[in-house]
Symmetry: C2
Subunit: 146 residues, 2 copies
C-alpha cells in the first residue's frame, strides 16, 4: 500500500505521451480502482431521479403522511399545508414514478404508497433528521447524538 500507489501525485512534470483526455494529471491507478466499483451512469441517473422526487418538502410531507395511512387529496392538502391543485400536481409526479397509487371511492380519490423502498429511504432519512435535529445549511452537526 506504499509502493506505487500514486503515479501522478508526486510526478514533477507529466510526460506528453500521457494525455488521453483533457486531464493530463490524473492518477490512473486510483481511477481504475474506483471504476471497478463505480455505479453505472444509467443507474446514477435513475437513482438521482428517485432521490430528486424526495428532494421537495411538499413531496416529503405527502409521502410521510401516506406512510401512516391512505388519504384523499383534500386531506393531504390540509396536512401538508398547500392548495389542492398544488398537491394534485405533486401526486401526479409521484404517481408517474409509481411511488403512490390511487383508489376511487365515489367522488373521492384515495392515495396510498406503492413503493416499499421509497418508504424505507424516507423513514431512514426522517430518523436521521430527528436524531440530529439541526438545520443542514451552516449549522449542521455530525454525530449530534449526545
Amino acid at each position: 500500500m506504499s509502493a506505487q500507489v500514486s503515479s501522478a501525485r508526486r510526478r514533477p512534470r507529466p510526460e506528453p505521451g500521457d494525455e488521453a483526455c483533457d486531464l493530463v494529471h490524473l492518477d490512473p491507478v486510483r481511477v481504475a480502482r474506483v471504476r471497478e466499483r463505480q455505479i453505472r451512469p444509467a443507474h446514477a441517473v435513475i437513482l438521482a431521479e428517485t432521490f430528486r422526487l424526495l428532494g421537495d418538502p411538499t413531496r416529503v410531507k405527502l409521502l410521510d403522511a401516506l406512510a401512516a395511512e391512505e388519504l384523499c387529496v383534500c386531506d393531504l392538502a390540509t396536512l401538508v399545508g398547500g392548495s389542492v391543485s398544488a398537491v394534485s400536481h405533486q401526486l401526479r409526479s409521484l404517481r408517474a414514478l409509481r411511488l403512490v397509487r390511487t383508489r376511487r371511492d365515489g367522488r373521492m380519490v384515495y392515495y396510498s404508497l406503492d413503493d416499499a423502498h421509497i418508504v424505507s429511504l424516507l423513514h431512514q432519512g426522517r430518523r436521521h433528521v430527528e436524531e440530529v435535529g439541526q438545520a443542514p445549511a451552516g449549522g449542521r452537526r455530525r454525530g449530534g447524538r449526545g
Copy 2:
C-alpha cells in the same frame, strides 16, 4: 371500524358551520390521526434538502466514487465525466452541507465522505436500482427481478 370513521366521506351536504378553512370537506378524524405521526415541517424541509443533494446524477456519481476512496478533483472529474469546474461547483455544495470533507496535499485537494448516513442512504438506493435495473419514468417495474 365501521361506526363513525368517516365524517366527510359519506356526508351528503357539508353544513355551513363546519368550515374552519378553505376545505369544508375533509375528514377530521383521519387528519388528526395522521397529524400525530406526521413529520415536523422544519424536519421535512431539512430532509428534502438532504435528498435534493442526492437528486442529481453528477452528485450521485461523485458520492458513489468517494464511497470507494478519497479522490482529488481531477480524478473525480474524470470518473463522473464532467469538467473540473462543474465538479468543483458540485463539491462546494456537498461541502457546504458537510457531506464531504477536504484534505490538502500540496497542490492537490483530496475529497472524502463525511456523513455516514448519506452513504447508507446512497448505498441503499443503489442496491435497489441495481436490483430492478429499469428506468423509472414510464417503464418501471416493481419486483422486476426475473
